[in-house]
Structures are given as structure tokens and as C-alpha cells.
Amino acid sequence: MKVLHTADWQIGKPFARIEDARKRALVQQERIDAIARLGALARDEQASLVLVAGDLFDSPTADKATVSAACSAIGGIGLPVVVIPGNHDHGGPGTIWKQDFFLREQREMAPLMTVLLENQPFECDDAVILPCPLQRQIESRDLTAWLREAELYASLPPGKPRIVLAHGSVAEFGAADDEDELFSGVSGRLDLDRLPMDELDYVALGDWHGTKQVTPKAWYSGTHEIDRFPRGEANRPGHVLLATVERGGVPDVKEFVTGRLGWQSLEHHFADDHGVEELEALLREHFGTRADQDLLQLRLTGSLGIEAADALERLLDTFSSRLLRLKLYDEVVTAPTGDELAELSGNLSDPLVAKVATRLVAMLSSGDESAEVAAAALRELYSAVQREGGDEAS
């Protein structure tokens, strides 16, 4: 039978760092839209079941609007959807799974959705799901422990494939550390090595946001829609997995892309003022004339003259309005060019300006925070002087 394995939707993630409200809403909405995409895929590929291996919601106390949107999207899939709580949306008391407003919406809008909160086997038409839900915020014991009881397997129907649905960290991986993680409860541990793999046919894992195969039968699906800046090539989010499983066999797993937004990380160093043009070219290359589709993490180093610094500022301003988010690490130093210096300090006809400019230039090399203030003052002075040039000309 075919099953669509996904996880870490984290619906309701606030993306609070995106200051523009409209853009923020776009990024949030994309995650809901991706559900529809994977739903269409599941139907096309004739999957009989959709498994969400934890962290469906970003918070254990998601609000009504989030719940309604999610349930509606889930309902729109049109297939049974089996969900377990993850560490973000754990199943402890007072969490979303027990609240009246969730239960109501689920009943009405996603009747085919089942939330498994206990360590109990769940039988569907085509398979048996063995859930390892996180029932509290902090769980230090091995969530798969109950799967080692021999009696369990005796009670299961012999013909149906057995799929473990779990959320947590397998031995080699540590919990993902994210600047956005406020609530990084230590994910539960999953000790896969001790499981009776003969009795199990697929282990559908969640928590790690990149798609990854861990053992022949155990996979992380990764998040369906990218939700953070990439941390290296090995991390490949934005996918769902379609697993073909059978009782007693090895599963056949195919990847499909469901992510749409682009999250990129770039670096650029300014050796001279031309670097600004180079950066412009680079940015055009990556983003073309797209808007509202990309998020960029940009680290800038090096030094620029005053005018070049202004040009850089204008360039960044342009792109930040096109991008959904520009996360900037700006370590660029302002070092006036020879011409600029001549205009300021070498200008004998404006003795005060020249003297003040000379003093500011001297302060640039001090290396402490006064250098930063001096650089800003210098730029201010330069532009004030330039303004006159413009006026006089007219």
C-alpha cells in the first residue's frame, strides 16, 4: 500500500522576524497552501493514507484561526490523515488536541483526521499504525520503548503492514538548534536499534526538517515547506515522501518537492567600491526580477567609500522590498576614498568643514565604537556638503 509521509508542518509559525505584515502573512499562508499541494500529490499517486509525524502545529496552544485553516486544508486532502503530537505540539494537558475549539473544527472540517495521543496500535484499512506520541513537553525516556513488548505484536493482525509513526531524535542527531526556537523542548529520544525491525515495515519519522534516510526502513520526511535558512547542503527541506510498504518487506520511498519559497544564504566581501556592482549582479542572478518569493540571509564584509556605502544602502533597500525577508549581517567598514577625502579635508575654501572632516578621518582608525560614530558623522558631512553642490549648480 502507498502512504504519503510528511511532518513538521509547524502551521501557525509566526515568522515574527519578518517585519512587513503582508509578507509575513504570505510566508505563513504558504505552509497551508503546501498542504493542498501534497494532498493533490497524494491523490495523484494513489496513496491511501497520509501520515504526519509530529509538529503539525508550531505551538501546543495554537489559536482558533490557525486551527480552522489547518483543519480546512487537511480536510481538503480527502484522504485519511493520521497525526501524532511532536515536541512543538505535544499532547500534554491543556494542549491543542484536547481543546474544545480544535475538536469541534476537526469534527466538522477534517473528519478523516485522527490524532493518536496514546501508545496504542491504530488499525486502518490497509495498515497498522504504531504511534509514539509526545505526551508532555519534556520527555527523557525512549518513546519507542513500548514497541519492544513482544505481546504487542501477537495482538496485531498478521497481514497488514506495520508502520511506526514517531517524532524525535535518533542517536546520531542532536536536537535542531534554531534562533527561532523558543520552545525547543528536548525532542524525545528514539532508540531505533533496539526495535524488532522484523515486525515492523516502515518507520515514519519527524523532527528533522530535512529529508533523510536513517536506516533501510526509517526515514525523516523533512518539512513540507522550507521554514528556515539553509544550514548546509545536507539539509534538504521542502519535500514529502511517498512510501510503498508491504508486510515483511523493505519500503520503496520516493521524494517529491512540495516547497515553493526560496530560502537562500549568501556572502559577499567588498575589496573596493566596485564590489557594490558585483553584489548587484549577484543578487540579480539569484533573484532576477522576482518579488514575494524569496528570503535571503546576507553577510557583508570589507570596506567601502562614502558614496559606495550610499550606493550599497540603496541597493539593499531595493532588494529588501522585493524579498520576503532580508536578514543582513553587515560588517562593512566605511573608508572614504582618496577623492572623497580631498573633497572634504582637502577643501581649503571651506576651512571649518575641512578641519572637521580631517578630525573625523583620524577617528576612523581608532577601532572602537567611536570609529562607527565617526564614520556615520563623516557620511553625514559628506552628503551635507554634496547637497550644496547640487543647489549651487541649480
Partner: protein, 896 residues
Amino acid sequence: MKLLKATVRNYRIHRDVTVEFDPERTLIGGQNESGKSTLVEALHHALFMKARKTGRERDKMSSDRYPGTPEVELRFSARGSDWHLVKSFNKGRKGAARLTQEGGRTWTDDEAEARLAELLQVEQQGRNEKEQWAHLWVWQGRSGEDPSADTQSEQQRLISRLQEGGGAVAMQSDTDVRVMDENARSYAEYYTQTGKLRAGSALQLAEDACQAASAGLEVAQRTLKDVEKAISEFEAAGRTIAQGERDLEGLRKQQKELQERLDTLGRLRHEEQDSLHTVEKAGEVYARCEEADRSINGLEKEIAELELRSAPGVQEEIVLSGVLGEAEQGLCEARKAADAARTLRRNASLQLELARARVTRWRAAEQVRELKAKVDEAGVLNASFKELRQKLGSLPELDEALLDRMTALQERHLKAQAALEGMAAEIELLKTDTDVEVSGERMVPGGRARITEPADLVLGDTVRVRIYPGGGNSLTVAREEVARSEEELRLLLDRFAVESVASATAQLRQRNELEVSAKRVQEQLQGIDDGTLHQQLASAEELLQRAESDAGRRAGMFTGSIEPLDLQEALQQLDTAEASFERAQEAEDDSQKIVEDMESRVAAAAGQLEELQERIAGSKQQLATKRDLLVWLVSQHGDKKTREEALLGNRKALHEAEAVLQRVRMELRKLQPELLEGDRERLARSMEQKRDAKSRAMEILGESRAQLRLDGSMDPVAACHEARALLDSAERRLRGVRLRADSLALLHELFSEEQRTLADRFSKPLAEKVTGYLQALFGPGTEARVTFDNGAFREIRLVRPSVSGAVEFDALSGGAREQVAAAVRLAIAELLAADYDGSLPLIFDDAFAYSDPERVQELQRMLDLGARKGLQIIVLSCNPSDYAGLGAREMVLDPQ
């Protein structure tokens, strides 16, 4: 430019006055109201006021005394030529001006005004003409004002001069000013004048936003924590409840066991009670038996003792009785003796009283005698006094005054007589052969006759000569006077029945003597008797009578008592009686003491005896009682043998009962009853606690459950994320704003500093020049400081060696201000003179009124320095002698 000569006509006080100026130093003296200031004004108006000007200033020029148009004629040198200027201030159209260049052309009216302005290098300004060359004209009363205000119009020229002098020093450009102003404006958006952050500035707002975001984050975090807390409380409560159930089960089981043991305990306790009872009873019986036996034995012993003790008592009794008897006897005798002593004493007392009474009597008698003597004396004196008075009565009542009058009258009379005699004529008969008669009186030869009135001299019968003594009327008057005075004297003498004045004198003398004697006698009398003498005598006699009767009565009590014959004897008797009395008193006291002694001894002996007798009686009684008791006890409890047997039996019973008790107690101990009680309490307590904890946990469970029932209107986790992001962006924004504010402040600071440095370059040379002048006046160490700011000079300050720090112009004393202002003007004039062929006039109208005379002397040096540097120094003063040291050309202004 120098002034050469000026003539002023019809200008207020001046009809026509001419002043010639020295090219270097001019001193114009004149009293107050001599028109010095008017002259100064006229010079200024000539140069700067339009001839056709109308208005108040022009009106003020007109003279009350002199009709005609005010006119000023001025010769001056400028631009290498001499000029002749005539201005006729005839209001409006009629005013005329004429300017002639010596050896050159002439300009009139407007052209003349224009040319003049050009020469003086000033702008023609109708309104502010008073400000023209204000730095060179020191008006009277205004010498102490800050001269920098007067240099406004010359700032540009000054700067140019200073620039040339200091060698191409750059001035701030327009760009500099613009950029600086822009920066100042931007800076002002963030900071106040004092450099503090402006409320409501962007920076303030950014900081506020950060605060708010921070607070918001705290709130979101708290909310989230609350949710987490509710969750963990819920879970904890659940665990507590489950555990509580288990614990309570265990406790219940323990309770059951405990109860069984408690039942056993109860039973054993009962048994213990019973056997205890038995033991007690047996003990009692035994004790009673023992008691009785003991009593009997004890009693027998006591009886034996008592008998032994009471033996000696009787003997003692006898002895004590004897002692008592003796003591009583002694007492009786003592009493008798005391009585006798008392009687003696009483007697002595009476004797004493008698003696006292006798003494009193004799004293009274003395008194009476004395008084009587006095009375007699008084009588004698009285008689004498009466005699004297009588004698006095027989004498005429003359006194000194009368005598004086008599004497005076007599004198008068004698005088009158003498006068008459003087006037009288005397006839001396030398020889005659007939009868000679004068006033009927025969005269004998050798006889004299005095004639005091017309008298007839009869010679015989035939010749009758009437002689009129000289003096005419006066003789008559004198004669009358004699008669009168004799009459008056006679009258007076008769009135007092005195023969003559001599006898009156004698009588008066007698009278005085008598009066003196009488007075003396009177005084003596008063000394003896002040009027009360008789009364005193009467009372003394009464006293004597009483004393006599009293003494007589007392003497009657004693037979054979000897009467004293006088006071001396009476006193002797008193002494004796007093001595006897004292002796008798002492004897009585002694005997009384003995009596008391005896009494106490008797009492003591009696007491002892009584005590002993009581004791004896007591013992007898005790013995009897005890014997009776013994008999009774033996009858009750039997004899010795019987008693012993009973004791033995009872002891055995007691031991048996005790053994039973012991056994039961051992069993009880095994049960550890004390601990059982503790166990019961402990278990009860535990169960209570567990129940309480469980119900508390259930409450918490309920509360948490309620708290955890969310309505989904907000997501605390998402809210936290958002709050944190908000704070981060607020902080980022704040950093940006702060950077801008800091950079503006830095620019502001740097511009201010650089501007100040630049300004110093200008102000220094001017300050140095002023310093040069001031040092001529105040000495080395003096320094002037000038501020150059915004293209203008202002804020002159003075540094003196004696004073620390720079003193502002306004803070100087009146005199110092005048001096410093003068120095500044000299410096500025010197600088400006370069544009005027190296010379400018500087006019000081009474400019040093507040300066000390010594200072004024030193001022000459400063003024002279100016002159040596090319300036034309013109000084006007009420006291030109003050400026003698200047070496100027002097002239005096006479009011015409």
C-alpha cells in the same frame, strides 16, 4: 583724516565760536554748561547729518538766544587734501551744504553730502546717523558703555584689517556656515541647549519603543510561563493524587493491626488494676498493724523519759521564791527613801519662792525711793523756775530789737543835738560892766552861752541885741529835730518804763541772763520728769505693795524665818535657797532611780518563778495523759506476742499480691503501650495529611484544568516569538537612531571647537592691540580678551594681575569701564585708520568722570600712545588741569 578747524554759529549756546585742532593732541577745557558737548555734537552733525534734515535733532540745534540758522564750518584733511565744509542747517529746503577741496572743486547740497560720505567712507543713512563713527565719538555720559556695540558698522573693515595683519587667515565660508547651521538644526532635533536629550525626539521615541517592546516581551513570557505552570501543576497534581491513593491503602492496613494490639492492651490494663487493688489493701492492713506496735513501744519510752525530767523542777521553785522575796523587800525600802526625798525637795522649793518674793519686794522699795527723790528734785527745780519767771516779769519787756531802736533814737537825738550845736552860735562873755543876759539867762564873764535860736542878748537895760544864729531855717529844722528826737526817745523809754537807754541796756542784759537761767532750769526739769514721773511713782508704789503682801504671805508658812533687812540680805537668802533646792532635786532623782531599779528586779524574779511553776504543772498533766493512752492501746491490740504473730501473717499476704502485680506488668511492658499510643496518633495524622494533600491536589487539578481550557483567541507561544522579534527590531532601530544622534552630536562638537579655534585667530590680534593700550595704563600683566563670534567682535574681558580670572566688561567698576572702553576704541581706531591715511580723530567728551584722579594721570600715557600711533586725540574736560600731563594744545571754551 584729521580735523583742522571748526567754527560753530547760532548753535544753542554758541553764537560764534572757533576751535583750532592740533593734529595730534587737543585739550578743550570749559566749565559745565560752557558748550563742550554742544561743540562735540556740532562736529558730528556737520559730518553726518544732512543740512536739509528736519525733526527733533535739528530743532535741538536752534539757539534760544541767537536768532539765525545754526551753522557749522569745518576744515579737515582727508585723502591727501584739505577740505572746507560749510553746513547751514536751515530746516528743509533752505538747508545748505558746501564742500570745497582746497585748490580744487566745490560741491553743493546733495552732491556735497555724497562726496562727504565718500570721503568718510560711510553709507549715507538718514535714520541712523548718530551711529556713524560712533566708535570715534565718546559722548558725554556714555564713556562707560561697551564699545563693541558701536563697532557694528565697522566689523567688516576691522576683519579685513585684521586679516591683512595676521596674514591670510581663512574665514569661515558660506558652505561652512550652511553645513554648520544644518547640523545645528538636526542636532536641535535630538538635543536641548544644555546637551540633554530632547523629550519627544526620535531618539527618545526609539528608546521608549524599546522599553515598551521589552515590557511587552515580559508580559508574553509571563503569560507563557503561566500556561506552562498550569500544565506542570496539572501533571504534578495527577501524580500526587495517584500516589496519595496508594499511600492511604497502606496506612489503612497498618491501622487495623494497630487496633488489635490496642485491644490486648486494654485487657491487660484491667488486670493490672485489679491486682494493684489487692496489693494496696494488703499493704494497708500490714501498715496498720505495724503502726500500732510502734506506737505502743514509743509511748512506753516517752513515759519513762518524762518521769525522769520533772524531778529537778521542785527544787528550783524554792530557790526562786527566796530570790523574789528579797527583791520585794528591797523595793519597799527604796520607795520609802524616795518619798522622803520628795518632801525635802518640796520644802526647798517653797523656801526658794519666799526668797525670790523678798528680793522682789526690796527691789520695788528701791525703785520707789529713787522715784521719790526725783520728785523732790523736780519740785525744787520748779520753784526756782517760778522765781526766775517772776523776776523776769518785773523787768520791762525789752528785747534786742527794741534796744536797737532806743539806741538808734538816742543816737539820732545826739546827732541832732550835735548838729544844732554846730549850728548854734556861742557867745562868750569876756568882760562886762553891766548885766548881760542871754535869752533871759545872765552870763558871767568867762561864761559861754550857746544860742540855737534867735536869742536876745541884753546888755544892761539899754541894749538889747537879738542874735540870729546862722543856718536860718536849718537851725529851726535842727532844733525841731532835736526836740522831736528827744520826744520820740522819751516816749519809747516811757512806754517801757525805762529811764534811759543805758538802763534799758542793763535791764535787757539782766533779762537775757534770767531767761537763760530759766531755760536751763527748765531743761533740767525735763531731764528728770518727762511728764510721767508721778505716774511712775504711783505704779512703783503699787508694785511695792503687792510684793510686800506676797512676801509676807509666804513668810507666814515658815516659822523662824528671818526677814532680810535690805536687798543685799534678800539676795543672799536667794542664793542659799537656790543651792538647797538644787541639792534636794538631785537627791529626789537619785532615789527615784533606785526605786525603778528595784521594781524591775522584782518583776524579773516573779516572771521566772511563774514560768517554772507552769512547766511543772504541764509535765504532770502529760504524764497522766500518756499513761491512760497506753492502757487503752494495749487493750486494743493485745500484748507483745499477739501483735508479733499478726504482723507476720500480714506480711506474707502482701508479698503474694505483689508477685501477681509484677507478672501482669511484665506482660504490659512487652506490649510497649507508650509506643502504641504514638503509633495511633502517627497513623491518624498521616492519613489526615494524605487526605488533605489529595484534596488539595484535586483542587489544583481542577484549577489547572480550568486554566488550561483555552478559547483559542491567542497563542501564547506565538505571542512570545512576536514580542521577541518586536524587541529585536526596536533595538535595531534604536541603535540606528542613536548612531545618527551620536554622529550629529559629534559633528556639532567638532564644528563648535573648530569654529572657536578659527575665531581665536581673529580675536587675538585685536585683543593684543587693546592689551597694548591697557598696559600703558594698568601695567604689565594686564590683558584684554575679545570674543569673535559669527563674524563680529563682542564680549570684552579684562585680566588684571591682582585679580584671578577674566572679568566681564559689565562687571568692572565705573572707572575701569571708561578706561577699558577707551583702550578698545583706541585699538580699533588705530586699526581702521589704515583706511584713512593713517589717522582718525578720537573725541573724548568728559570721558573719565568715574576714574580716580591718579588713574587719570596714568591715562595720559594711554592717550599719548594713541597719538603716537597716528590718531588725533581730542579731549574735552571740565578740569583741563587733570590732563596737563598729556602735552596737548589747550584751549578754553568761554560761554558767550
